[in-house]
């Protein structure tokens, strides 16, 4: 049987390679890093102008369609929705092979939509919605976003105040969502709304699929501290959706949300390539110390070494989780630890580098690879917040892994309308 598994994997990899050979060029050999050569941009958030952004979305959709037409669009998905019905191991094999090719970045489709919303629709949506959206999403025709966070519901997501009330044979939704990635490109959003304020907070929420072009949906770019606008605010005003758009039970939306969030932690924890890999590469960091004549500075060397130890140990943790996954074992606490370390490591790297650069990180002299780092520096606070703040991640580790008791509170037992909330008096 092991032989069969091995042979199957080899054959699948060969088919993936044949497909990629026919449709893409091999990735350019990046070779050894040389200080002063190549692209020195070091941005975590893209902040592209709208026309560039749109062109990238178009490319991503086109590439996703090609993948799909060749059977690599949804490797683990059920065949009835256009999936291939294979295992996460096949998914990993494909990703590994594809990483050797120069293909468009499909992050704006895959991270939230295919990575988080797709599995949620599959698990909880009604049949008509699965039939309608799953094939469209994995074919690249539809992009999905997550309408979860609100100004008053960040870490405490279960305190959403967007309301959904019955209206005819459907629902009318009103409220404000925030930190919504790719909303401006999305056809569909997964929204959490309060349907029963008299129930405790986790038991009065319902999940809905909201067409992003429905009357009453207003998407506004949200400018973040880097200066760019990678997220949106989404205002929902009397947005009507039919009952078939509801996921799970009425007041059962928290279960739906947990499916989405579990997939989010898995996605966020696995980040490591792109600007992150480059920022933490020993060659680049050492090159910087050499170029600035600080390579002999004992204090800076110690900081560099500490940073590299953390980055490499985090890499080892990820590598071991990946091997576990390939062996069919779900990763344990590694993903939450790696998510925490990811934010910490990049924060330390950005501060070490800008400290080394001094004023050249504060104002642009035009010199290669210097002021470019300011963009990474300004992005780092977000890395300790998005996908779960450090405090929340630590609560999760302590409670779920170490079995420490939850903080006693009344918020999970009392009717939601009686809870004190920021910016709103508890209403009687």
């Amino acid at each position: 049987m092991e032989q069969d598994v091995e042979q199957d994997a080899a054959e699948f990899a060969a088919r993936a390679r044949a497909f990629l050979d026919a449709h893409a060029e091999p990735a350019p050999d990046r070779g050894a890093f040389t200080w002063g050569e190549g692209d020195d941009r070091m941005a975590y958030f893209s902040a592209d102008p709208p026309d560039v952004d749109l062109a990238k979305v178009k490319q991503a959709r086109a590439w996703q369609r090609i993948r799909h037409e060749n059977g690599f669009g949804w490797i683990t998905g059920p065949a009835q929705y256009g999936g291939r019905g294979l295992t996460p191991v096949h998914d990993l094999i494909y990703d590994t092979v594809e990483s050797e090719y120069d293909v468009p970045d499909t992050g704006m489709i895959s991270v939230v939509g295919l990575g988080m919303i797709g599995p949620t629709i599959l698990a909880h949506a009604q049949q008509s919605m699965r039939d309608r959206w799953l094939p469209a999403m994995y074919r690249g025709d539809a992009i999905a976003c997550q309408l979860f966070s609100e100004p008053g519901a960040g870490s405490d997501l279960a305190s959403v105040t967007t309301r959904a009330v019955r209206e005819g044979d459907g629902w009318s939704i009103t409220g404000q969502k925030v930190w919504t990635s790719v909303a401006q490109h999305s056809q569909i959003g997964l929204a959490l709304a309060r349907t029963n304020p008299d129930a405790p907070k986790h038991r009065g929420i319902t999940a809905f699929l909201v067409p992003m072009d429905a009357p009453g949906v207003d998407i506004r770019p949200l400018r973040q501290m880097t200066g760019g606008a990678d997220f949106n605010e989404v205002f929902l005003t009397d947005v009507h959706v039919p009952d078939e758009n509801r996921l799970g039970e009425v007041d059962g939306g928290w279960t739906v949300a947990l499916t989405t969030l579990m997939n989010e932690r898995a996605t966020v924890g696995s980040e490591g390539a792109g600007p992150v890999g480059a920022a933490l590469s020993p060659d680049r960091l050492a090159g910087l110390l050499r170029a600035t004549g600080t390579i002999g500075d004992g204090a800076l060397r110690a900081r560099l070494a500490e940073l590299l130890v953390d980055a490499m140990a985090t890499g080892h943790l990820n590598a071991r989780a990946l091997r576990k996954l390939r062996g069919g074992v779900a990763p344990g606490p590694e993903m939450s630890v790696s998510k925490l370390m990811y934010g910490q490591n990049l924060t330390k790297a950005a501060h070490l580098i800008t400290d080394v650069l001094g004023l050249r990180a504060v104002a642009d002299t035009g010199q290669w690879g210097t002021y470019a780092w300011s963009e990474m520096l300004l992005a780092t606070p977000a890395l300790r917040i998005l996908g779960g703040t450090e405090e929340i991640m630590k609560n999760i580790l302590a409670e779920r892994v170490l079995g420490l008791p939850k903080e006693p509170g009344i918020d999970t037992r009392s009717p939601f309308r009686e809870l004190r909330r920021s910016g709103a008096e508890a209403s009687k």
């Binding site: 080899a10 070494a305 590299l308 590598a319 390939r326 630590k394 892994v401 008791p405």
Partner: protein
């Protein structure tokens, strides 16, 4: 693409490792209880010879990482790592670390087949213990800073000088010693059973009673050269790589134990009418420990795996594991006392035993200044 193949192998290996771990944990629970450790750390020798015999004969621990052609069982650092993690959890007082990770590794690193054939079978069988005598008054592993010297007269070598901080230096049967010759630092072996009278060793007063350190005096002590004259610098480098990965596993095991003690106490200790683990300040302290422990285990186990695969990435991974696990263990041992509060500062509580072991381990191969530079050096920075 061998992902699936690798996965199947990995799963089979994991099962074997789990069995080794379970067998050791049971054995050590019975033979290396806290009471036993507390008794041994006050006496000479600093270990129970009967337990060591059982570890060697029943569990074949010293044979684990010695090649089969020298009488060992031919496993690698991965298996040795499992044993070291378990030993570290219970602060095992034993010649295990010095014999296997230092002495035997020095012989293997020397490439001297004759010396290996002569000594390793006895080590593998548990008939001989060994250690590696390198450091002197400054505690440095830099072979350029050693005063102990060897002279060649009448067809044989003899050693003169003083080694300090020698792990198990009062008890080891075979002392692998680095001494200067005209050709530079060279490796020698002193067989205490034959030359016992020409070696004086005395225990050093130390913060960590569970790891015996000794001052060893050589006065024209007859010795046998191991490997080519002048080749010891490379041997020391290689032994530090291997031994620091074994030590890293021991540190990861100790750190994991500290975390378990803290989490257990935080669940059970009530103040202000609630378990202290329900306060975020305590909860986050425990989560911080968990992060360090997870990183330490990953770094130690991954370095061991790379060693067994003879990967070119091993030297970097070894230096990383040493730095990562040294910090993680010290952090976990410190925070463990804080989570326990006053009770954690008493002699009766085991927390201080782990604190002591964590510090003595962190500094064994030179401490942060040395190991952080080693990371950079291995990365050619």
């Amino acid at each position: 693409m061998s992902a699936a193949n690798g996965a199947a192998n990995a799963a089979a290996e994991d099962t074997e490792l789990d069995e080794l771990r379970a067998a050791l944990r049971d054995f050590l629970a019975a033979k290396s209880s806290e009471d036993a450790v507390r008794k041994l750390m006050e006496v000479e020798p600093r270990y129970d010879p009967a337990v060591w015999t059982q570890l060697a004969e029943q569990l074949r621990l010293p044979a684990l990482a010695i090649p089969e052609r020298f009488g060992g069982d031919g496993f690698g650092l991965v298996e040795l790592g499992v044993a070291m993690e378990e030993a570290g959890r219970v602060l095992l007082c034993s010649p295990f670390f010095a014999t296997v990770a230092l002495g035997a590794q020095a012989l293997l690193a020397s490439g001297d087949e004759e010396a290996c054939s002569r000594y390793l079978p006895d080590i593998a069988a548990g008939r001989a213990t060994s250690t590696f005598a390198v450091t002197e008054h400054e505690g440095s592993w830099d072979t350029g800073r050693m005063n102990t010297h060897a002279t060649f007269e009448g067809g044989s070598w003899s050693l003169t000088g003083e080694k300090l901080f020698v792990v198990d230096g009062t008890t080891a049967d075979l002392l692998l010693v680095v001494a200067q010759t005209e050709a530079g630092p060279s490796l020698f072996v002193v067989d205490r059973s034959a030359e016992g009278e020409a070696v004086t060793a005395e225990p050093m007063q130390a913060i960590d009673g569970t790891r015996a350190l000794a001052r060893v005096l050589f006065r024209s002590t007859p010795a046998t050269i191991v490997g080519p004259e002048g080749s010891a610098a490379a041997v020391v480098e290689r032994v530090i790589d291997t031994a620091s990965v074994a030590l890293a596993a021991e540190q990861a095991g100790g750190a994991r134990r500290c975390l378990e003690m803290s989490a257990g106490y935080a669940r059970e200790r009530y103040q202000f009418g609630r378990p202290i683990g329900s306060f975020q300040a305590v909860k986050h302290k425990c989560a911080d420990m968990l992060v360090q422990v997870e990183l330490a285990e990953a770094a130690a186990r991954e370095a061991a795996r790379l060693a067994d695969e003879s990967s070119p990435e091993f030297p970097v991974a070894a230096a990383t594991a040493h730095a990562c696990c040294s910090r993680a263990y010290m952090f976990a041992a410190m925070e463990n006392i804080q989570v326990h509060g006053g009770i954690g500062f008493t002699w009766e509580h085991p927390a201080h035993l782990y604190f002591r072991r964590a510090k003595s381990s962190q500094l064994l191969f030179g401490g942060p200044a040395v190991y952080l530079e080693r990371v950079l050096e291995r990365l050619h920075v």
